[in-house]
């Protein structure tokens, strides 16, 4: 049945049936969990915990939506809401873990520095897991183009770029250190990696890419080289840009952590969670706003957009060059046509105005000629 399109009535009925069975499973597994001797943090990780169940439910919902034949505004907006609700539920999951972590703190004595550090690290680790899902779950798809901010962003460069620079990277002495730092969550190391990547690339393969070529395919080879070079540089800029977004997310996490003491001793309730959610998004909004106003952001955004445009420019050059050997018009040909049409349209508009003015003049003359 996979891939088939059912009628709305059929899939709705199937879906509701599934809802029912999921609820039954949930109730029975929840009972088991409550009796289990596993620590609270483990409960949350179990497949039938509320978080796990919501995950399954939202996946089944997404599957069913794709089966629908009709697409439209309702579906588009519904998907945005569903994706944002996923972020909300993931935050709920994080909040539950964080509450569990705080619950484990012994109240009868003062904590040691190490214990406080450990507590913070645990909190931040859980938060990082949440950030993974957050940045992969933004609504509407359009945010994806801003770069999915992940810890290993520099490692997400395309296979093509990676294979080109692999030999260089192997010889870079600092690399093991940096990779280790990245794996420990040090985001500034991502920037270091980007810098080394870029420098070594430009010194070696990059130089070869933009080096003059010889022979019959000289122009084609040069354009291919320039395109790959521009693509690699775009990726580097994109990753650097993504890493500042991620870094800001961690900065916001620190602020949320500092303020989470406001919730210590408060009864866990839907209202407490909603207050935590409000705190979370407003702190993030403020923190990102600071970044968005900064010169650092504007400079890096500019760099990323510029690199992206340069890649597109070289790609168009390459496409035009290839199309030259066919009877299909390229970008330059089309631009010429667009320009000509634009000039003609303007000419027609001017002519129409001139004719109208002449008609008015003639009518006025006629009126003057006619005897009163």
């Amino acid at each position: 049945m996979a891939g088939t399109k059912d009628t709305p009535g059929e899939w709705m009925a199937q879906w509701l049936k599934m809802q029912e069975s999921l609820m039954k499973e949930w109730a029975s597994s929840l009972g088991k969990m409550m009796k289990s001797s596993a620590p609270p943090e483990e409960w949350i990780k179990m497949p039938f915990s509320p978080g796990g169940l919501y995950e399954q439910w939202s996946k089944s919902l997404a599957d069913l939506i794709t089966k629908r034949e009709e697409e439209g505004l309702g579906e588009l907006v519904y998907n945005r809401i569903a994706r944002s609700s996923k972020v909300y539920m993931d935050l709920l999951n994080f909040w539950a873990k964080a509450t569990g972590t705080l619950k484990a703190v012994p109240m009868e004595r003062t904590l040691t520095v190490e214990e406080i550090g450990e507590l913070r690290n645990k909190w931040m680790k859980n938060y990082r897991d949440f950030m993974e899902t957050l940045w992969g779950s933004l609504p509407a798809g359009e945010e994806e183009s801003l770069g999915k901010t992940r810890e290993g962003t520099a490692l997400s460069a395309s296979d093509l770029t990676w294979s080109l620079v692999e030999p260089i990277l192997k010889n870079v002495a600092q690399m093991p250190d940096i990779v280790q730092k990245i794996s420990r969550g040090d985001t500034s190391a991502v920037l270091d990696l980007g810098g080394i990547f870029s420098k070594n690339y430009e010194d070696t393969v990059g130089r070869a890419m933009i080096a003059p070529s010889f022979g019959y395919f000289k122009q084609l080879n040069e354009k291919i080289g320039q395109t790959i070079y521009a693509y690699a540089r775009f990726n580097t800029a994109k990753n650097a840009f993504s890493s500042i977004l991620y870094k800001t997310g961690l900065k916001a996490a620190e602020k949320v952590y500092q303020r989470s003491s406001e919730f210590v001793g408060k009864e866990a309730s839907p209202e407490t969670f909603k207050a935590f959610y409000r705190l979370w998004w407003t702190v993030n909004e403020e923190t990102y706003h600071e970044l968005l106003r900064s010169e650092e952001f504007s400079t890096m955004a500019k760099d990323m957009i510029t690199r992206g445009l340069l890649f597109r420019k070289w790609f168009d050059e390459l496409t035009d060059h290839v199309l030259k050997f066919t009877n299909i018009p390229g970008k330059k040909d089309m631009d010429e046509i667009y320009k000509t049409i634009h000039e003609l349209k303007r000419e027609v508009r001017n002519q129409k105005r001139a004719i109208k003015a002449l008609e008015k003049q003639a009518a006025a003359k006629d009126r003057r000629k006619k005897p009163a």
């Binding site: 519904y78 809401i81 609504p139 998004w281 510029t306 667009y338 049409i341 349209k345």
Partner: protein
Amino acid sequence: MVENVMEVMMKESARVQQKLLKGFENMMNIQDMEEGVTPREVVYREDKIQVFHYKPEGEDVCPVPLLIVYALVNRQYMMDIQDNLSLFRKLIGQGLDLYVIDWGYPSKIDKYQTMEDYIDGYLNNVVDFIRETTGNDKINILGICQGGALSTIYASLYPEKVQNLVVMVAPIDLDTQDGLLQVWAKYFDVDLMVDTIGNVPGEFLNLGFLWLKPFQLIIDKYVGFIDRLDDPETVKYFLRMEKWIFDSPDQAGETFRKYVKELFQQNQLCKGEFKLGGRRVDLKNITMPVLNLFGEQDHLVPPYCSKPMAELVGTKDVTTIAYPVGHIGMYVSSKAQKEMPPTVANWLKERSVSGKKKRSGKVKK
């Protein structure tokens, strides 16, 4: 405590699921929403633009027609979004004879379309069309957002055709760091963008608008709406707003280049250095009465950008009114819906009969 946490998770999870199910019923079969609700007639077409005519109601009809010039970056139907929230309906209800330009959606073929084409070409043709068909030498113009800047330029170049100028949330003085768009624009290499991709995609601009308040506009807006998914009428309103927000036409490359470089980056209009078709646009030529409306909490066009109109134009008959709302609130907030149409209509009627001059300068709240 932990039992409580589990209970909260269960409750919240169930609440969200239940609401989403209701939303599923209420939303999934809606294919599209109408673009504007007030009856209208298409009275003029040229290339991709068209002009709608909304007939005035009541007996106290303003003798001079009003042309609404909306921004190029979004669509004009925001002002006619639904029956109870339509500024168009309320304006015609006040006896205004309303014409509205729909700029359409530029495609690749329009990449060389310039600001001259828009202002000296389309806008001037539309104004002439209305003058001829209604028998008025001059008409009233209401420019909104970017359309406010376009209308201001037009009124400066063609003052003999404009009886009164109304601008709403118009970006006039852009030498500010108040708004993020103004900050980002300074870093933007518009030449490279237009030379490379021609038209500027609407999605790109939308992304910029969303990033002005990312967590509010990308997450909290939708999370907050979950609770209201079971109300079909609220769902319809939300869908209309969503449609409008993401309905951003691509921008004709050459127009966008001039707009960003000369107005946003160099603030030429405010400095009196802006030229259109080789002619300097001197705002002192604006000698007709001016009504300047803006939102005090506008994050897209901060008040700083709109306020200075009174000092820049050549007339002393300037009325400035600030509303305690944001950019979108200027179109749909209950305050704006209630107060703005009668204010605009009365202001225009007073000046469309005798043209007598009224108070000037003060910011009304």
